[in-house]
């Protein structure tokens, strides 16, 4: 069988940043990673001009961004890996937050830390309860079913006094802190960065109005979830999801129990959603149904798709775009949503594969490049 592929343009691509980093020796990579992590932790203290939000507290914004990142990672398992369209993801987020609320304040007084595993478990169970009957429903039908689920959760919160009704639940305890030392911040007001020993953050005090420690906590959780995500995706489980997404019937006939894997994706996604809800509840100390509107599900989905569904770094970027920019550009005031909508459209049109295209597209590119090299090699020989 002669396969023939002729490569015409002999343009030599310069390796992009990604590839160049991938080619670095391991110790350097590790050092780079550590530096990057340190930078992320220091970010709210650096007060970098232009990046720091002028109209809202940067630490608080960063925390919000990190909950979005967490949620996007969870939703990415469902949408990006398993290919299930979920328009009601906020439901799991709410379940997580309310589990904490109910156990720690409304009907109990457990400490926050104890509530978190319960919140994850409850969210996971709710994922299974929703998924078990409905995952057999095909494709886009699932979208409306999940959307319905999200609304059912919200309306139940509004209408059930046991869950606090519209007033919500207040006085949710904060995460436990150990106050060790003060971390100074950087002041740019004079034009040059100066260490500002006056404005400091206590490591680690989970207070009422300083959100930086919460952001740090969220960063740690994100790192853990990321590791989990990488390990699971690069295994039989990840392959099974991908195969199911590609061709469900064929996957089944190749021995993949597709339903169980879809349910698994749903449960894991729900668990991560619940975890972020628990974080949110611990940080705000007060939750009400208004924080779990349908619109949020849509924003979550936008984060995943705009970022590049299936690519964990992409969806992180997407989450940042969706949550950070509206805060950064508060000066658009009334036109914020309009600009945001336009931005979504433009992103969709100009980056149809997402900001960071999913791995499979990259893989295709790499395959092309290899072929290119191969052909050239042959021509040279």
């Amino acid at each position: 069988m002669t396969t023939t592929t002729n490569v015409t343009q002999k343009k030599k691509d310069r390796p992009n940043l990604n590839e160049r980093i991938a080619d670095l020796p391991l110790p350097i990579k590790v050092v780079l990673w550590i530096l990057f992590a340190l930078f992320l932790f220091a970010l709210p203290l650096l007060n970098i001009p232009f990046i720091t939000t002028p109209d809202s507290d940067f630490g608080g914004v960063l925390f919000t961004v990190s909950t979005y990142v967490l949620v996007a990672l969870g939703l990415n398992i469902v949408v990006g890996y398993a290919g299930l369209l979920d328009l009601g993801y906020v439901g799991f987020y709410a379940v997580g937050a309310y589990t904490v609320g109910v156990l720690s304040s409304q009907h109990g007084s457990l400490p926050w830390l104890w509530c978190v595993p319960v919140a994850i478990a409850v969210a996971m169970v709710s994922g299974i309860l929703l998924g078990a009957p409905t995952l057999r429903v095909r494709g886009d039908y699932l979208a409306i079913v999940t959307l319905g689920f999200g609304e059912i959760v919200r309306l139940t919160l509004v209408n059930s006094q046991w869950l606090g009704g519209a007033q919500g639940i207040s006085n949710i305890p904060r995460p436990p802190g150990i106050e060790l030392f003060e971390v100074p911040s950087i002041d740019w007001s004079t034009g040059v960065p100066v260490v500002d020993l006056g404005t400091t953050t206590t490591f680690l005090k989970f207070g009422i109005s300083d959100f930086i420690p919460y952001y740090w906590l969220a960063l740690v959780v994100i790192a853990l979830v990321l590791v989990f995500d990488i390990l699971v995706k690069n295994s039989r489980v990840g392959r099974a999801w991908e195969a199911t997404r590609e061709d469900e019937d064929a996957a089944e006939l190749m021995g993949v129990p597709t339903f169980r894997f879809k349910l698994l994706a749903f449960a894991l996604g729900a668990a991560i959603g619940g975890l972020s809800g628990a974080l949110f509840a611990g940080k705000s100390g007060f939750i009400n149904p208004q924080s779990f509107e349908l619109l949020l599900s849509i924003l979550f989905l936008a984060a995943v798709v705009v970022g590049g569904q299936g690519n964990r770094w992409g969806v992180i970027l997407g989450a940042i775009v969706v949550s950070y920019f509206p805060e950064r550009f508060r000066e658009f005031a009334d036109f914020r949503v309009l600009v945001f909508g336009l931005a979504l459209m433009l992103l969709a049109i100009f980056r149809p594969q997402g900001l960071l295209p999913p791995r499979r597209t990259l893989r295709a590119k790499r395959a092309d490049a290899r072929q290119h090299v191969l052909e050239e090699g042959e021509a040279g020989a």
Binding site: M1, T3, F228, L231, V232, N234, S235, R236, V237, R239, A240, E242, A243, E246, D247, D249, A250, A251, E252, L253, M254, G255, V256, P257, T258, R260, F261, L263, L264, A267, L268, R360, R363, A364, R366, A367, R370
Partner: protein, 313 residues
């Protein structure tokens, strides 16, 4: 299950197609005592109570199977059997019910009446993936690869059929995960090599030429370690030279110890490679016998072969 204990080093014999050794009976996997959300439970042939049959015995039996779609009778009391180690041809005019037969054997459809027995036991209402694990694998008449996965990954999905790595195992990179991953890759590469695709392991399936796609389908099906391999028109779209190569390939597969059920319209190929042939027409079995018998069967000639000077050669 591929070489349960001592994995062969990958690429030991890089050039010549390594024979994809027929996997032995699924051994009981050493269990990592972990409670985990395990998406599946392995079902081995032992579970239906019959040990692996010996060479020449009945592997699968289609017993008076009838399948109706509304008014259409796609299969009408069809009975035949497949012996272990043989290549059985399934031929018949278009719409005779051949693909439908595959679908019944692999759990896509439930027969309206009749049973399919595998290793002596009825398949019953098993899920498709369970049947695959029992040892029946297939390819598709219209290619159905995982288009956006690489060739290697396509095969790995098949290999995974007998793995049990779940979330927890993968998350903590437990020994089971590592072992399965290593052995799986080795076996997948072996199969790719065997099918002559080792150079394309990292190509996306959708970018492969048609012929390679067809062979990748076979590799993927072999990866599930089947006892019975069902090929649905594997030579469609091949030119005569390619068909000859395919014929050799099918023979080699059989020689590895697999049993092969072949649907094909190319008579040279069918006559050249099969041990026995079953002929369907309008959902009914109209003949069964050796290639030579079938070639001269007047009913088959009338219904299917027609008189063709070239094919009659």
């Amino acid at each position: 299950m591929p070489e349960p204990t001592n994995p062969e080093p990958v690429g030991a014999e890089p050039t010549t197609p390594t024979p994809a050794s027929r996997p032995s009976t699924p051994a009981t996997t050493p269990v990592d005592e972990v409670t985990e959300i395990n998406p599946d439970v392995d079902i081995a042939p032992e579970d239906i109570g019959v040990p692996v049959v010996a060479e020449g015995e009945r592997l699968l039996e289609v017993d008076t199977v009838t399948l109706r779609f509304g008014g259409v009778v796609a299969l009408n009391e069809v009975s035949f059997h497949i012996n272990k180690g043989e290549i059985l041809g399934l031929i018949g005019p278009n719409g005779a019910g051949k693909t439908t037969c595959f679908n019944v054997m692999t759990g896509v459809y439930q027969p309206t009446s009749g049973v399919v027995r595998y290793l002596g036991k009825p398949l019953g209402k098993r899920h498709k993936f369970q049947i695959t694990k029992l040892g029946i694998a297939r390819t598709f008449q219209n290619i159905r690869l995982f288009a956006n996965m690489t060739a290697l990954e396509n095969v790995l999905v098949g290999v995974d059929a007998h793995h049990t790595t779940g979330v927890v195992t993968a998350m903590f990179r437990l020994p089971k995960h590592r072992r399965e991953e290593e052995q799986g890759r080795a076996r997948a590469m072996e199969l790719l090599e065997f099918m002559g695709l080792d150079g394309k392991a990292d190509e996306l399936a959708r970018n492969l030429p048609y012929g390679d796609q067809r062979r990748l389908e076979i590799a993927r099906a072999l990866a599930t370690s089947p006892q019975l391999l069902c090929l649905d028109e594997p030579a469609a779209g091949f030119n005569p030279a390619e068909k000859v190569k395919l014929m050799e390939l099918i023979r080699t597969i059989r020689d590895q110890g697999y049993t092969v059920l072949l649907i094909e319209h190319d008579m040279k190929l069918v006559m050249g490679v099969t041990d026995r042939i079953v002929v369907l027409e309008f959902g009914r079995k109209i003949a069964e016998g050796s290639p030579a018998e079938i070639r001269d069967n007047p009913a088959v000639i009338a219904a299917y072969l027609g008189v063709d000077e070239e094919d009659a050669s």
